[in-house]
């Protein structure tokens, strides 16, 4: 019997594996949010996200809520913040998992049903008046910033924001300021200066400080990118030394399959023929891959009243297309499973560093419940993108043994890289090729 689970699992840490977290604290109205936005804008990269501590206000009891509407509830005390949830979510981010962030409504003074999701940032900027307050949070911060501003400026900014954006009135805001904000500042907010690494005066006007911080973050990102590539190289070395994993299934090389390979590889084949034969090949690949669905015995009666003991599937299949190449699989996939739910992931290889980068993801809502998730990418060379795609699914709660990576052409090193990290996943391949080959398969299919 074939072995399905090689004993040794190799660890892979994606670039979002150990996210850096930067804390920005400061008085209300000190310009923390603008500062964080200015930093992100100066970086202009999708892997840096801002998390506002406003999302972590505790839901109020009816009595507290009534007080809040009278402007008599103290939102500027650390007690108003749900640090336990914040710490949990930060841990998720730090560990590269999907973090569901609560949404707080200032109009209703309540946590809303829906959540937003943070996933795969390389750097997260946590901003809030108490960003440097809780020891558990401090332990996770890689850089601690305190934004300093003149108290008059803080008050005027706060007035404008609360009236314009949060539906308050001027009297209520002034009552809050002198009743809670000001006393709390000296009691809880100001002491955070003592533990900050950097104190930034004058907020976004302070271009020098913003440039310093963004270059610091650049360095962190470069370091992470270098680490990730080292990681891929290390996995490649391990993969080179081992024979092809038993979880790699190469479809039977029949005469038809070989003839289709020949047509697909022949540069003189017309685009029309190429698409036709590629679709035909994909249908064969999908038929092989869907055999990993769980089935259960099922007895049916024929129109003549005879009984047949057959099988039926016990769960749904979904697919995830690795853009853009994976979209070449869709016609063939729909031929076999017309109503298949199809998620999409965009992974691009940085042309300067050669590092695969995750840019976009939209996954089927029920992906965790699927009996089988097919990851579609027509060509696998180094396996870096494949590794990342499978990791994204695992991070979203898809059990590893339900993942089948389907590809037209792969190299042994790439396949082994993925299957050594995810030994319970499977890989279905139409043809084993060279370890490093330009991505021509989808270029031929899509015509550009």
């Amino acid at each position: 019997m074939a072995m399905t689970t090689p004993t040794r699992r190799i660890h892979y840490s994606p670039p979002w594996g150990n996210a850096s977290i930067i804390g920005v604290a400061g008085s209300s109205g000190s310009g923390k949010t603008s500062l964080a936005l200015a930093i992100v804008a100066s970086l202009n990269l999708p892997w840096v996200v801002i998390l506002s501590m406003d999302s972590f206000y505790k839901p109020l009891t009816p009595a507290q809520s009534a007080a809040a509407f009278r402007n008599e509830f103290d939102f500027d005390s650390p007690d108003a913040i749900d640090f336990d949830v914040l710490v949990d979510r930060l841990r998720d981010v730090k560990n590269g998992k999907v973090a569901d962030i609560p949404v707080y409504s200032f109009q209703k003074h309540a946590r809303l049903e829906q959540t937003t999701t943070i996933y795969s940032p390389h750097v997260l900027i946590l901003e809030g008046i108490f960003a440097l307050h809780d020891q558990r949070v401090l332990d996770m911060l890689d850089l601690k910033i305190f934004a300093e501003a003149d108290a008059d400026l803080c008050l005027s900014r706060r007035l404008v924001r609360d009236v314009k954006e949060r539906g308050r009135d001027i009297d209520g805001c002034i009552k809050q300021w002198f009743g809670f904000v000001k006393p709390n500042f000296s009691k809880y907010v100001a002491p955070q200066r003592e533990i900050a690494d950097i104190i930034i005066p004058r907020g976004i006007e302070n271009k020098v400080a913003i440039a310093m911080i963004s270059s610091q973050i650049q360095k962190t990102l470069q370091h992470k990118s270098a680490q990730h590539q080292l990681e891929l190289t290390r996995l490649g070395k391990i993969a080179e030394d081992s024979p092809l994993s038993p979880n790699a299934i190469i479809i039977k090389q029949t005469n038809q399959v070989k003839a289709i390979h020949t047509l697909l590889m022949d540069e003189t084949t017309s685009t029309e023929d190429y698409i036709f034969y590629f679709d035909r090949m994909v249908a064969l690949l999908i038929e092989t891959a869907v055999d990993f669905l769980p089935f259960t015995p099922s007895q049916v009666t024929t129109p003549q009243g005879h009984v047949y003991m057959g099988l039926k599937k016990t769960a749904e299949i979904s697919a995830v297309v690795v853009l853009r190449g994976g979209s070449a699989f869709e016609t063939g996939l729909r031929r076999t499973i017309p109503d298949c739910r199809i998620g999409r992931i965009l992974i691009q290889t940085n042309y300067r560093t050669g590092e695969p980068e995750l840019h976009y993801r939209a996954l089927p809502a029920n992906i965790k419940q699927c009996g089988l998730v097919l990851v579609l990418d027509p060509q696998m060379s180094s396996g870096g993108a494949a590794l990342m795609a499978v990791k994204v699914l695992v991070d979203h709660g898809v059990p590893e043994d339900r993942i089948v990576f389907v590809t037209y052409m792969a190299g042994r090193v790439g396949v082994n890289r993925v299957l050594r990290v995810f030994p319970e996943a499977r890989c279905v391949v139409a043809r084993m090729g060279d370890d490093m080959e330009n991505r021509w398969v989808e270029t031929r299919y899509l015509g550009c």
């Binding site: 038809q256 003839a259 590889m265 022949d266 540069e267 015995p297 024929t302 129109p303």
Partner: protein, 242 residues
Amino acid sequence: MASDSQPQAPVGPEYRPATQKPKATVSTPLPHDNVHILPQTPQLIALLTMIRDTNTGRADFIFYSNRIIRLLVEEGLNHLPVVEHEITTPVGRNYAGVKFEGKICGVSIMRAGESMEQGLRDCCRSVRIGKILIQRDEETSKPKLYYDKLPEDIADRWVLLLDPMLATGGSALMAIDVLKSRGVPEEHILFLNLIASPEGAKKFADRFPKVRVVTAFVDQGLDEKNYIVPGLGDFGDRFYTM
């Protein structure tokens, strides 16, 4: 019950552990060299289960039949010869490949066989398709040829003969006679069907041992009305009119 005398076996590819192979009724094994049965994968069994089920609606029946038909066509085409053909790949390497050799055509036995034409076209876009109408003569209860229209040069082609059910084999055997009379050599004929009876398969092996029969499943046998047991009812009716 019909299923009792058919073999039950754990179904699944060899790389799957035995515990993950559910048990189901699989194809009856046959001793004839010219009969090729598709690998009994869980997927194929599940597809057959769908189309056998009397409660399966027409849309599903057509869709799942088509999936099996494509597998049959792919398997059938594998019996065609190929010749060596070296090409240059987009990355500038030489690849010692193969290419299809010889012309093919489809011939469907009307009307049920015509249901397999779409599946054939999915794999061979511009394939020529001939037709043969054979009906049972009410008086003699023997099959009678009513109509045929075949490509002129059929003698130079490989023929994929299409009929979804092989029961007694009466019309299919007559269709082979027609093809042979037009000069098609026996060994250039591939007969594709979804479900075969052991009786029908044996008749083919005895009369035309060089004709290759490609089937998805060999059932238990025939009932007194010569219907395949357990079968799936009248394929043509379920595909076209029911």
